[in-house]
Symmetry: C2
Subunit: 238 residues, 2 copies
């Protein structure tokens, strides 16, 4: 048991379970639907542009994606898309919402080990759609490992600061684990916390960043969650 | 300053600001759009049925409503609805998301008074869409009155219990204010808290309940938020 009262926050999508592959599959089906109107690259570019334009009022998640996909399909088909095709997009979106939750490598064992050790408080900190994220956590079988689940509209420094304040956590006693430099790593390092980056093979363009985090012993690179216990031990001893 | 450390929770939609009138307006426009296919009562019944069927996977909020409206329109038009009409529904939904926030009678003065008195901690506890609810709170100008904002997927007894536990609030020191018997009043009374009901003229069928809350001095009926300070004083003295 370490002397410090340490908390580990986990991102959910593409950190605990696969998510971006489900979106990538949806993008491929969407491209196929519009293949007789435009080439795949144009479809992909227009869909991303619509998503980003709608982000401020729709926020993240599958319902936002579905609405943006319908709007893009109407636009790219010059209003020729049929009601049946719109219904097909709605059905694809619904399929994403009930898609089985597939855990990433090392997640189940690592969380079980950390929970059994009982030395640290574990949180989920995710953005997206409230209902969808809670449903995925329920279906993941992982919920019992976490003391709290925080679902926020945007994962920036002020959102993390509010969470740490609410739970009475000092930044130097907080380690965030996630796949997104932009959402999981940089804002936590900026607050004085520690962060462990676990890259996921796919990443939504909106989440990509070229920035390199500052050094200083508070930043860790993991290959998978299998590497986390060693990093936690190093961090806890630091 | 009362001896007890008291917390007052406020529902948001149709308690702090108008909401159901925006949905009612959208329903009327939706009925008009499908008037050449079906009478208004049929449209209304089918739309509600679609919303309830989708509630478990979509949750509450405007994006869920928009997707259910599109699906209902496709179904009721036997697939004849045009892409332009689908786009019209998407535009109506977007309009709801950026609709000006119109405060209910007595809200601004009552919250200002309670905040100035400084005797009680004020929370917002609302369900719905994360991004939409936060945006409405920001636009309302009321955010500064509240210590915390809790946006949950469903307002049932277990959700309230989790909130009270997280903030270290004993149920007997908690008063919930809201327009929905089902979501604001009954679950809080069941936990041993107090609840003040402020009816709103319109109510979504899904929120309606015929149940009468148990007596016992923990239930109050308000005409508007103007009545709240007197009720709080009575409750705090109790």
């Amino acid at each position: 048991m370490p002397a410090r009262d340490l908390t580990i926050g986990f991102d959910a999508d593409d950190t605990l379970w696969h998510n971006e592959n489900v979106f990538a599959d949806m993008h491929a089906r969407f491209g196929a639907l519009l293949a007789h109107h435009h080439d795949a690259a144009t479809v992909e570019r227009e869909l991303l542009a619509t998503e980003l334009r709608n982000l401020e009022i729709y926020g993240y998640g599958v319902k936002s994606f579905t609405l943006s996909a319908i709007e893009t399909a109407i636009h790219l088909s010059s209003g020729q898309i049929s009601a049946a095709e719109v219904q097909h997009l709605i059905d694809l979106g619904r399929g994403m919402l009930v898609h089985p939750v597939e855990l990433l490598d090392g997640v189940a064992e690592t969380l079980a080990g950390l929970t059994a050790a009982g030395a640290h408080r574990l949180l989920v900190i995710t953005k997206g759609d409230l209902r969808d994220q809670q449903s995925k956590l329920d279906r993941s079988g992982l919920a019992g490992h976490f003391k709290e689940v925080e679902i926020v509209a945007e994962k920036d420094a002020s959102a993390y600061a509010a969470i740490l304040r609410r739970h009475g956590i000092a930044p130097q006693n907080f380690l965030m684990v996630g796949n997104s430099m932009k959402s999981d790593i940089l804002p936590v390092l900026a607050l004085g916390g520690a962060a462990a980056h676990v890259p996921y093979p796919l990443m939504w363009l909106h989440e990509q960043t070229a920035e390199v985090p500052p050094a200083g012993g508070r930043y860790f690179e993991l290959k998978s969650l299998h590497d986390l216990p060693a990093v936690v031990a190093r961090w806890a001893a630091g």
